[in-house]
Symmetry: none
Subunit: 128 residues, 2 copies
């Protein structure tokens, strides 16, 4: 029987996302992932893979794992109660404002980097 294309080993995911297996296990330790087991071995579903991708995306944005957890849990369907939906929308808007702030931080840093680089290049040329 061929390997199912609908599941992944820990090292499959580690390679795909360029992280260590320790990192992936750590996310399980703190409850961010809960793969099935075949004996001792962890078996990851496409849903697990998606959660991992979202966790890592959050990290690249400078979020803590707890902050990522909140956002990821937003995507989880099932709870279609009116009050919860409104809270979700609020959380989404809060998150969007944070992202907008980050975007302008990045713009500022880009300006600084360009200036720093120009200064370096000047120094290089004048020392020649």
């Amino acid at each position: 029987m061929p390997k199912s294309t609908l599941s992944y080993t820990i090292s499959d995911l580690a390679k795909e996302f360029q992280v260590t297996t320790r990192t992936i296990r750590h996310y399980e330790d703190i409850g961010l992932l809960s793969p099935e087991r075949r004996g001792q071995t962890r078996i990851y579903s496409p849903a697990d893979r998606t959660r991992l991708r979202l966790i890592l995306r959050g990290k690249r944005l400078g979020l803590s794992l707890d902050e990522s957890r909140e956002i990821i849990d937003m995507y989880e369907p099932g709870k279609t109660n009116r009050a919860q939906l409104l809270r979700l929308i609020e959380a989404i808007q809060r998150q969007r404002r944070k992202l907008e702030e980050q975007r302008s931080e990045i713009a500022k840093m880009m300006t600084d980097l360009n200036k720093a680089e120009a200064d370096c290049l000047d120094a290089l040329n004048s020392s020649r």
Copy 2:
């Protein structure tokens, strides 16, 4: 006698650079700063202030404190040498690539957030 404008207390610098006093003391613990003392109290010179600014700039460039130390110590003897400048330019370019990645991550998350919000609004409307 008026306070000298050529020295700073730890909280002067903490306020100016928006960090905690613990952070500044930590940099001393690991040998990145070595202010004078008046009794127990730390007295920071303009040179110390410059070093702190460079440390924090390095942090914003995504360097570890050890990496910052290397670059800062390059500046020390007043010799802005060619190899050092080239390393600095490399660090700048690496950081710029990181920022570009972050920028596209933000764009992706914005798209996801917009979609999640639209889904929420749909769910709200159809439940009315």
